[in-house]
Structures are given as C-alpha cells and as structure tokens.
C-alpha cells in the first residue's frame, strides 16, 4: 500500500487518509452578489490536470488534521505535503526538491 507522508505524523498507509479535492480554491469575497452561474463555478468546477495538482487531504485515522499536498495525478507520486497555513510551493521550488531528493 502506498504511504502518504502526513505533515504531523509522518508516513502512513493511504487508507488512513481521505481526499478533499482541489486546494487553494478561494471563497468568494461577496457570495451574495454572485450569479447562479458564478456560484456554480465556485461550488462545482475544479481543475483536472494531468500532472502536478495541489490537493487537500485529511489524515482521518491519525491526527485528523487537514493538510495540502502536491501530487502528480499521472504517477500518484506525492511531491510535497505542507500545512494549511504554509504557502503553495512554486514550480521552481518543487523542481529543486526533486533534484536534491528531498521530496517525500
């Protein structure tokens, strides 16, 4: 079974986690002013890239905390996990950690 590195608990079995969809989707500034179409876009529309994707995960069977991860949707490789209050890592930063072998 694949191990997912929880930022708090360390590497744990994938079955301990649940998926929370795309990360960094901002809540609308003034939701009352959105049209139905704009609201639908916020609620239902998500990116579906092949490759690196910033996602939310929850370590349900462990510390029960939400965290973010950069996962490659083609290889299922977790390139980076980070806490919710950490900024989204940039592309150059990810490339560097892959070269240095510090990616989880």
């Amino acid at each position: 079974m694949q191990l997912i590195p929880c930022p708090w608990c360390g590497p744990r079995e994938e079955a301990e986690f649940s998926y929370g969809g795309q990360a960094h989707v901002p809540y609308p500034d003034s939701p009352a002013e959105l049209s139905d179409e704009e609201w639908a876009h916020y609620v239902f529309f998500r990116a579906n890239p092949k490759g690196r994707f910033a996602e939310r995960w929850n370590h349900g069977a462990g510390c029960r905390r939400w965290f973010n991860a950069i996962r490659d949707t083609a290889t299922y490789r977790f390139e980076r996990v980070y806490r919710l209050d950490d900024p989204k890592p940039g592309v150059t930063e990810l490339a560097r950690s892959r070269e240095e072998g510090t990616a989880p």
Partner: protein
C-alpha cells in the same frame, strides 16, 4: 429490576490472554479516567494551570503524576488519571484550560487500554500496522494514532526495548482487536505452550 453490573469489554478474553506465552503477553488495563483537551496556545500559563507540560512534539506522550498526557494533534491531547474519577478530572482540567480558551471533555468510556509486553509483541503489532516500531524510532515516550488490523488505535511505547506497549482502542472495537491480536500472536507462540 435486573441489577446492571459494570463489566470489562474484554472480560471474556481473560482466559485466552492467560494462555499466551511470556514473549507475547496481553493484559487488559483497568479503567482509567480520560479527558480530551483542546487548547490552541500551549505555554507557561497552560503548564501552570494544568500542573504539567503538554507534549508539543507530534506523536509523543509524557507521564504525569498519576497518568499520561498523549499528543493527539497540534491543539489536542488526551489526559489520563488513575486516581481521579472521570468527572473530577474533567472538572479540574476544564477549569484550568477554559480561561485560556480551551475545552475539556470526559472521554473515559470511549477507549480501553490493552498492555502488550514481551520480546515478540513488536512482531505481533507489525503484522497489522505500517508504522516503524523499531525502538530506535518508536522508543519510550513515542505514540501513534494509526490503524491496527481494521481498528483505529492509539499506540504508546513504554520502553526503549520495544517490548512494552499500550494500545488504546474504542470499547466497541476491543473484542475485535483482542481476537485479531490472539490470531496474530499465534505465529509467535511455541506449540508446546499452546493448550486447548
């Protein structure tokens, strides 16, 4: 009206536990009072109010005067007490953390403890748990919330030799986990010691 007696969920397993060899010893721990504490700011103030330092390192536990303080999350702990009644512990801890914006809830009935001692218990645990249990990594003071078999558990290491652990499991899962542990222990039980 029938008299309702308090029985331990693992009372029926006591005989099976007794037949295990010393290398894999399972013992149901007596009931203890447990309180779940939520507190966002841990510092000198919290330590003074509680009379103990809550562990801030992930996946650790520390002994207290009469129990344990287990890290459950960056703002969550499990406090146990062998001397206080559940309502006493809850009231005392709540009074200590409430002024700091925290909360305390009695969860004594949620989990029971199983003590696992012996040279082979690490092997037994490893058959159903993916975390690294080697004493170099999981020595005394380490803890983990994880799954053991199909049950969610809190695992505490009590020794640096890797031969003394406590498993906290939900009461309703205790029977399943006891069966699972007995089955896993079979592999490490010499046949001469097994009497039907």
């Amino acid at each position: 009206m029938a008299e309702l007696l308090r029985t331990h969920p693992l009372q029926a397993w006591a005989g099976a536990f007794e037949r295990l060899p010393d290398t894999v010893r399972l013992t149901a721990e007596p009931y203890v009072a447990m309180v779940d504490v939520r507190l966002s700011a841990v510092g000198a103030e919290a330590s003074a109010a509680l009379g103990l330092d809550l562990p801030t390192a992930a996946n650790t536990w520390v002994p207290t005067d009469d129990g344990r303080a287990v890290w459950l999350g960056p703002d969550e702990w499990l406090l146990t007490s062998t001397t206080e009644a559940p309502e006493e512990l809850e009231a005392r801890v709540r009074a200590a953390v409430l002024p700091l914006g925290g909360s305390a809830a009695d969860v004594s009935a949620q989990r029971i403890g199983l003590r696992l001692t012996g040279a082979r218990v690490r092997d037994v645990l490893a058959t159903g748990c993916s975390i690294d249990l080697h004493p170099r990594v999981f020595g005394r003071g380490r803890s983990a919330q994880t799954t053991l078999g199909q049950a969610g558990v809190v695992l505490l290491s009590l020794s640096d030799g890797g031969d003394d652990h406590v498993v906290l499991v939900r009461s309703s899962f205790a029977g399943y986990l006891a069966d699972w542990l007995l089955d896993a222990a079979l592999e490490f039980t010499p046949t001469t010691a097994r009497q039907e």
